[in-house]
């Protein structure tokens, strides 16, 4: 009998086990939030903060975020005449193809650029749709309408920025996704039209709706304000007009003038403060990526995009030896007896190559060369003090000069005294150096460009000379024995005799002032001078370094129809099932 009870009890238990299985299976996801929990001000603001978070170019992690660096050092500088990839030849081999303009659709630098900037766009769209859902809900926790509009303006400004970065690299026709599209709709968006008007529309909206008193929304220095919107809209107009798809020199100029007039005197702002981590967000800052070291000392929110530009060997920050300045760039800083740059290209005569041909102990620095002082605030060279790191020993800080050059980068590094607070612990080449997307001298020089094109040469002269006068205030950088490392000299232009001369001078000034800040290649493309400039550059540069040659070829050539932009990553085309068409660029 006992057995029967036992059996009955067990069968009942089994039945109970089955019947309660429905709730048994209702487990909860761990460490995530589901959509239902998001309808509040806190999460809309959070989504917007997340959208800003992609300004540093990457989601998380440190290694691997090179092409997506906000500085755009790879596409913008290595791809132009200012810099070499550096390191060893086989290290990041696909970057050689970007330097040599032999990019194929399987180049491994393309997907991270593509993916991360679309992530930025997703976050802007997500902010806009969460805001819309909250404002249209019955929630009592809605935003007041002015903050709601500001949020829209901020999100659309950021979206314009992300699309602009993608458009500069991958060309005008890329898929456009906005906040109204569902995931399946976004998956079907083709790359069949120029997104330029959409970028303009977002920036126009931002300019009209960010605080009109030029204050920062919520008082946060990292947010975009009306200065940023004006400068960015002007910049986009300039690109559109250069490309011949718009005609807005005047509108751009008006925007730039507004920024210049309200921002104050450039010459009162120190050039070097832009690259001093302790003086971030100074008066010259207009649109800037904020980088910090995390409270735990890790570097995921720091400037990871530029980390490869750390030096090598016995340098205080000794990895990874990438991003070296070209011989051509360094020589472009030469000035004539009047303190003016050698616009005719004669700076290439008898070029200064540091110790490249004599990397021995017997090398002596020639301190008699007349250089623009910005040189030693742009590159580091042998025999010259580098920040507070000591005198640059040349090869001891280099990985392989013959694959790159003997000239290391200045703007991406920080003072050794700042390693403790502003670099990742134990990894001093991951710094908290902010990255300028637009700074005031960029606005001066863009204004000068517009003025040249509208033939207002005196205004152009004023703005270029403001930049040069400010450069003249830079203190001399010294050698180990305490002498100035060059015969420093930079003087204003007395006049612009012609529009052509002025155009050349403005463009040359732009190269010097913004060297190694990620503008150069995109400038060459919008000016339509990429082919002539780069072919001439490679013919010069190859006499001094193997880096410029490109693999296996003796003569470099640049084909605008293939090389102005990058091909759409092959993996996206393979995944799209025909949604995305190859854009025709690449090899």
């Amino acid at each position: 009998m006992k057995r029967t009870y036992l059996a009955a009890a067990t069968i009942i238990l089994m039945a109970a086990g089955v019947s309660c299985s429905k709730s048994f299976l209702d487990t909860q996801p761990q460490a995530v939030i589901t959509q239902s929990g998001l309808q509040s001000q806190k999460f809309v603001e959070g989504a917007l903060t997340g959208a800003y978070g992609l300004m540093n170019g990457n989601i998380s992690g440190t290694w691997g975020n090179y092409s997506n660096a906000p500085s755009q050092w790879l596409f913008g500088e290595v791809g132009a005449d200012n810099a070499h990839k550096g390191s060893e030849y086989t290290d990041q081999g696909f970057m050689n193809d970007i330097e040599g303009h032999q990019v194929t659709s399987v180049n491994d630098q393309l997907p991270s650029m593509w993916t991360n900037y679309y992530e930025g766009i997703m976050r802007c769209n997500s902010t806009l749709s969460l805001l819309d859902a909250l404002q249209n809900s019955s929630s009592t926790e809605k935003f007041a309408s002015d903050r709601a509009t500001q949020i829209q303006a901020e999100a659309r400004m950021l979206r314009a920025h992300y699309y602009f970065y993608l458009r500069r690299v991958f060309g005008p026709k890329i898929p456009y996704i906005d906040e109204t599209m569902t995931t399946p709709e976004a998956s079907k968006a083709a790359n069949d039209s120029d997104i330029y008007p959409k970028i303009v529309a977002d920036l126009v909206f931002a300019n009209a709706n960010l605080p009109q008193d030029y204050s920062k929304p919520l008082g946060d220095v990292g947010r975009c304000d009306k200065y940023a919107a004006e400068a960015y809209l002007g910049k986009v107009y300039l690109y559109g007009t250069n490309e011949g798809i718009d005609n807005k020199y005047a509108e751009a100029l008006a925007l730039f003038k507004d920024v210049i007039s309200k921002k104050g005197d450039l010459t009162s702002m120190k050039f070097q403060d832009n690259f001093d981590v302790e003086k971030k967000n100074g008066p010259e800052s207009i649109f800037t990526v904020q980088d910090v070291i995390n409270p735990d000392g890790s570097g995921d929110n720091a400037n990871v995009g530029d980390m490869l530009s750390g030096f090598y060997g016995s340098a205080p920050a000794s990895c990874c030896g990438f991003y070296l300045a070209s011989i051509d760039l360094v020589n472009a800083f030469k000035v004539d007896a009047n303190g003016l740059p050698l616009l005719d290209g004669s700076y290439r005569n008898n070029p200064y190559t540091s110790d490249l041909s004599n990397p021995t102990a017997s090398y002596k620095l020639d301190t008699t060369i007349a250089f623009d002082p910005r040189l030693d605030y742009t590159v580091g060279r042998r025999g010259v003090h580098y920040r507070d790191w000591g005198v640059n020993p040349g090869n001891g800080w280099l990985r392989d000069a013959t694959t790159g050059s003997p000239f290391v980068n200045y703007k991406t590094m920080v003072d050794q005294a700042d390693f403790g607070a502003y670099t990742q612990s134990g990894v001093p080449y991951v710094t908290a150096q902010n990255v300028n997307i637009i700074r005031l001298s960029d606005v001066y020089l863009m204004a000068a460009e517009c003025a040249v094109e509208t033939n207002d040469l005196s205004d152009a002269l004023t703005w270029v000379n403001a930049v040069r006068k400010r450069a003249a205030t830079l203190p001399a950088v010294l050698t180990g024995s305490g002498h100035p490392a060059a015969d420093y000299s930079v003087k204003p232009y007395p006049s612009f005799p012609s529009q052509d001369y002025a155009r050349n001078a403005v463009r040359f000034e732009r190269r010097l002032e913004l060297a190694l800040e990620g503008q150069r290649f995109f400038d060459l493309v919008r000016w339509g001078t990429a082919k002539t400039t780069l072919e001439s550059y490679h013919n010069f540069e190859k006499n001094y370094t193997a880096a410029a040659s490109g693999s296996g070829v003796s003569s470099y050539s640049f084909d605008d129809s293939k090389d102005d932009y990058m091909p759409i990553p092959q993996q996206e085309i393979d995944r799209g099932g025909g949604v995305l068409k190859p854009n025709g660029y690449g090899h």
């Binding site: 989601i59 992690g61 490109g550």
Partner: protein, 1073 residues
């Protein structure tokens, strides 16, 4: 009470009738072939139900009818033997061990059955063979023992090898489900000792495995641990120890420094680059011929530029946390360092196991414990394991209730690189010590002038870490594992034939590990900080299973029906933390997170999942001739959304024992012949949970932004996109098989043919970046894959004079398995998916029509002989004389990424194994060979050794490289700046991977126990064994057994530097008291 009275009366009556029949008594001893007494062997009278079992010393006494002519003696794992008793009263029977005992009872999923009644494809593994081969994990010993089961070993201590049953059925996880004493288990098995295993069955086809439903797609391995048998305690001590020797003859051969210097020279001259002024000139000069430097480094001066003042030892300053004062002086090793020799050594291993088995009328027990210690052949790696286990079973109420438990607690301690990893091969890669050994130049010495580690510091020596330094600095890194695994059951006979069984089991795994980082200032990319990272976590799972079984026989009908429920709940949580900048170096006692002074971080994660199931099974057989079996299971899983939570998995199979048909009785050479066929469905739910939800997350790294310029503000992002329609992956398979026993049981074997198709394959189809940014794409049910194959095993048993215990007997057998894997379809939007990217090389592809993980790249059709030759060939950027000439697949005249093609299949045409076991007098010998035929290996180490990746060490293959005077060579000439297209994935990397390996040779002697000791000692067996004694292969890498490389999906056959297998020489002693 009434019933019991009736039973007793019947019993009394029965005894009465027995006693009045004429009887006599036979006594005897049953031993194994080697003389070991067999305890619990069954002795029955042929033609009569009467039976006895042997007692502790193998003796029996049986009362037999006067007319009885013979006794049948049987014991699990041995061939039944009929012994004539005519005119005898005391007999000794020596049984011969066998893998083919058809009456053996095997466990096949919630129930057990006779091996001869199996209708599906089940490999029953001979456990005595399993135990012969010393191994950390029982899986390792399974290699080659069952058809259709591919095991890929590596040499790392404590490793659980990669196991694939009938190929890859999914593009996700392909590890089988283990069922250990009825409890499901997924994960590594290094905690379980082979010595404790009683039996092991591999359920290969759906008809056998479908009862495990949603987790059975990859096959099921059923492991039953030892149980005690009636008799006095049988104490067994098994000890072995020996040494492991790295296979030094397989180490890669490198250019010596002088040859390397010449290689660099040639690289520059071929590329038209002057050596003068280059970094390499600093080391090898720029005169007429290359010269070697005396020093590699003094402070920040390198190579031949080092002056005698700089190399003065008084400058030396080893300051590992200060890069600016660090001053190292390193001499060049002009003779060349053999790095593989430096990082390997002969390493000891030892194992001790003690077990006590026994039982009485109503209970039995098996208690065991063991200690295992294996040092790795790669220095500073080791694995230790200690465990205790107890299985006990009790019978009560006259056998109506059986209750019991089995439980194991084990502790393992793994030290250093690649030990006891969770997934086979997960440690492999270019940044592992083995990877560094491929990459560090031979001119670098192991130590600098003061005995500190030397390295690549400077420029031009590449960026490898000193592999020995990395191993040495990892010597205190450990991961500990504490695991309890056990269950208790009660089995109640409600009425005759009707049993109710309930089993409750738990697994609790608690693990912890630390990893200490030290500065590696001697490296060109060294760090100057020490650090600690630490993790702890636990996993708990409980399983409650209930079955109701009804078994009835009448006449020739045998009918069994079983129904059951099962509930499984798994939870886990882990905690990790890190910090750096510790005041002390090398003192392990100081390394706690509290003493870190910078970069303190912490994190945690967890999971929660549940499975609830109903299942049923019906078995029917008629006269042992026609056997039918059907199963069904319905699973509910928390992994899926409310709409797709349940899945149903049916299966059916049938067998026809042809040999039992009347018309076969005349065919005397066939002892047993059975045809089997089965069809069924299984599932796969092995994906991350909650794919049906779109989820958002805040995290410091992914979403925070210093919006105020300083402190971080928290943001939020969509970390994972949703697929509300996610459901099971399903596999349907056919299996047709044949089991045979021929020529008086001398030959036996089986043959199987199968066809499996996976559909609704769970696959994280990557959404376009424009639709998800960097968020995770959800898994979708899309795509299909097929595996088709045949398997054959044949054994021959030779047994001369079975009754003589000194007879010569041997068994020889072979297993051959062929599996053809093919991806049938991916998502309609996805053309293909490339993966396995490492540096410039992307090795593997998922593409319809190709096997999973097919190698993909350019097809090398030659070497460009001249500029003219290049001009005439399809061009690519960087094509050069002496470089690869690629096939123009799409015939458009240029080489572009569209010309990449399928360049090699990572799977073998077939795998096979051979064994030979023999015994003679007191000796026995075993040999076992394992082999793979026709597979290709993607030898990615060639990126470094042959194609100049990172200025690594260069293979001696390059001595035969193409040159204007060696134009037949297919090896590209040295070239300073070869293009990305040239070094991209191409057929040069793809190498033949077939091998034939002598896995085991074991020779044993069974001592004769002197009469006076027999009371105390039952048997003593002493053996010597060698594993991996020789390998025949054309593969050029370290080891042809290449575990998959873990990438987006697993990349089979991609070699980035494995922990290579070693030769083992062992001596073992097995004593039974």
């Amino acid at each position: 009470m009434k019933k019991r009275l009736l039973l007793s009366s019947l019993f009394v009556l029965f005894c009465f009738f027995q006693s009045i029949a004429q009887k006599r008594t036979i006594t005897g001893t049953v031993t194994a072939n080697d003389g070991t007494p067999l305890v619990g062997a069954s002795v029955i009278v042929v033609g009569n139900a009467t039976g006895e079992t042997t007692s502790a010393n193998g003796t029996f006494s049986i009362s037999v009818p006067a007319n009885a002519k013979s006794l049948r003696v049987s014991y699990i794992g041995y061939v039944d033997q009929d012994v004539s008793i005519t005119g005898q009263s005391n007999i000794t029977v020596a049984l011969k061990s066998s893998a083919t005992n058809l009456n053996e009872i095997v466990v096949t999923g919630y129930s057990s059955q006779r091996k001869k009644d199996i209708t599906g494809s089940v490999a029953v593994v001979n456990t005595s063979e399993l135990k012969q081969q010393p191994s950390t994990s029982p899986i390792e010993a399974l290699q080659g023992k069952a058809t259709g089961v591919q095991i890929i070993n590596d040499g790392s201590p404590g490793s659980t090898p990669q196991i694939r049953i009938r190929g890859n059925t999914s593009i996700n996880n392909n590890d089988p489900l283990f069922v250990i004493d009825g409890m499901p288990y997924q994960g590594k098995l290094s905690w379980l000792s082979s010595d404790d295993i009683e039996s092991m069955q591999v359920l290969k086809d759906a008809s056998a495995a479908s009862i495990y439903g949603s987790r059975a797609n990859n096959g099921v391995v059923i492991i039953t641990t030892k149980v005690g048998r009636k008799g006095p305690p049988k104490i067994n001590l098994h000890v072995y120890g020996g040494t492991q020797v790295p296979m030094r003859d397989r180490f890669p051969k490198y250019l010596n420094p002088q040859q390397f210097a010449q290689y660099v020279w040639t690289q520059y001259s071929n590329a038209g680059q002057p050596i003068a002024g280059s970094t390499m000139a600093s080391y090898y000069g720029s005169g007429a011929t290359p010269t070697l430097p005396e020093y590699l480094l003094a402070g920040s001066t390198v190579g031949q530029k080092v002056t005698s003042a700089q190399s003065d030892p008084s400058n030396y300053n080893y300051s590992p946390t200060n890069s600016t004062t660090f001053y190292q002086i390193t001499k060049a090793n002009q003779a060349g360092t053999n790095w593989f020799n430096e990082i390997t050594h002969n390493a000891p291993m030892q194992n001790y196991e003690l077990s006590i088995l026994g039982g009485g009328d109503n209970s039995n027990y098996a208690i065991s414990g063991g200690a295992y210690n294996q040092q790795g052949t790669i220095k500073y790696t080791s694995f230790k394991r200690y465990y205790i286990r107890a299985n006990t079973n009790f019978t009560a109420f006259n056998g109506a209730l059986k209750i019991g438990e089995n439980a194991q607690y084990s502790y393992s301690h793994a030290i250093g690189f690649a030990t006891n990893v969770n997934t086979a091969g997960q440690y492999a890669g270019e940044g592992s010590p083995v990877g560094w050994a491929y990459r560090i130049q031979t001119i670098v010495p192991v130590y600098d002038i003061n005995g500190n580690f030397a390295g690549t510091r400077g420029s031009g020596l590449g960026n490898a870490d000193n592999p020995l330094a990395i191993l040495y600095r990892g010597k205190d890194n450990y991961n500990n594992d504490n695991q309890f695994f056990g269950s208790a059951y009660a089995d109640l006979k409600i009425v005759n034939g009707l049993n109710l069984k309930t089993t409750f089991g738990t697994q609790y795994d608690n693990y912890a590990g630390i990893s200490i980082g030290y500065p590696d200032p001697e490296r060109s990319e060294g760090v100057f900080v020490n650090s600690l990272s630490e993790n702890q976590g636990w996993v708990t799972q409980w399983t409650w299973t209930n079955t109701l079984t009804y078994h009835q026989k009448w006449n020739k009908h045998d009918f069994k029906v079983m129904g059951g429920t099962e509930a499984i709940k798994s939870t886990g949580r882990s905690l990790s933390g890190g910090g750096n900048t510790f005041a002390l170096f090398g003192d392990i006692n100081y390394y706690y997170l509290n003493t870190a002074t910078a970069s303190k971080s912490s994190g945690s994660s967890g999971y929660n999942s549940a499975l609830a199931s109903l299942f049923g099974k019906v078995d029917y057989s008629y006269n042992d001739k026609y056997i039918l079996s059907a199963t069904i299971r319905r699973d509910g899983s928390s992994n899926f959304g409310p709409n797709y939570r349940y899945g149903t998995f049916p299966a059916a199979s049938a067998a026809w024992r042809v040999s039992n048909e009347d018309f076969m009785t005349s065919v005397s050479w066939i002892n047993d012949l059975k045809l089997r066929a089965g069809y069924g469905a299984t599932g796969n739910q092995n994906i991350p949970s909650f794919q049906f939800l779109k989820t958002y997350q805040q995290s410091v790294n992914a979403t925070s932004y210093p919006i105020g310029g300083g402190a971080l503000a928290s943001g939020i992002w969509t970390n994972s996109y949703d697929n509300p329609n996610i459901k099971w992956e399903e596999l349907k398979s056919w299996n047709v098989g044949l089991d045979f026993t021929l020529f008086s049981n001398k030959i036996d074997g089986s043959f199987d043919w199968y066809n499996k198709k996976t559909s609704d394959m769970l696959y994280p189809v990557p959404l376009l970046a424009q639709a998800r940014g960097g968020g995770a794409s959800p898994f979708v049910n899309i795509g299909s894959m097929s595996n088709k194959g045949v398997e054959l095993s044949v054994n021959y048993h030779y047994n001369a004079g079975a009754s003589s215990k000194n007879a010569f007997t041997f068994d020889i057998g072979a297993n051959v398995s062929r599996n053809v894997n093919k991806v049938l379809a991916l998502a309609p939007t996805v053309t293909n998916q490339l993966y396995g990217t490492n540096r410039n090389v992307t090795s593997s592809i998922l593409a319809p029509g190709q096997p999973f993980g097919e190698f993909y790249g350019y097809n090398v059709i030659g070497i460009n002989q001249s500029a003219d030759d290049i001009a005439k060939s399809p061009e690519y950027d960087g094509a050069r004389v002496g470089g690869f000439k690629y096939e123009d697949i799409n015939k458009d005249g240029v080489i572009t990424p569209d010309d990449r093609t399928y360049i090699g299949n990572p799977y073998p045409d077939f795998i096979y194994s051979l064994y030979f076991n023999a015994s003679w007098h007191r000796f026995d010998v075993s040999m076992f060979f394992n082999a793979s035929y026709g597979n290709k290996i993607f030898d990615e180490t060639r990126y470094y050794t042959d194609l100049n990746g990172f200025y690594g060490a260069v293979s001696t293959r390059i001595l035969d490289a193409w040159s204007p005077t060696n134009t037949k060579s297919m090896i590209p000439s040295p070239y300073y700046n070869a293009s990305t297209t040239e070094v991209a994935s191409n057929s040069y990397y793809v190498q033949p991977g077939s091998y034939f390996r002598m896995k085991l040779l074991q020779i044993a002697y069974n001592f004769q126990i002197p009469e006076s000791f027999r009371e105390k000692i039952n048997s003593i067996r002493l053996y010597v064994s060698g594993t991996n004694l020789f390998t025949i292969t054309k593969y050029s890498g370290l080891d042809p057994e290449v575990t998959q490389f873990s990438s987006t999906f697993s990349a089979p056959g991609v070699d980035l530097g494995m922990y290579p297998s070693s030769r083992q020489y062992l001596v073992g002693l097995n004593v039974t008291f």
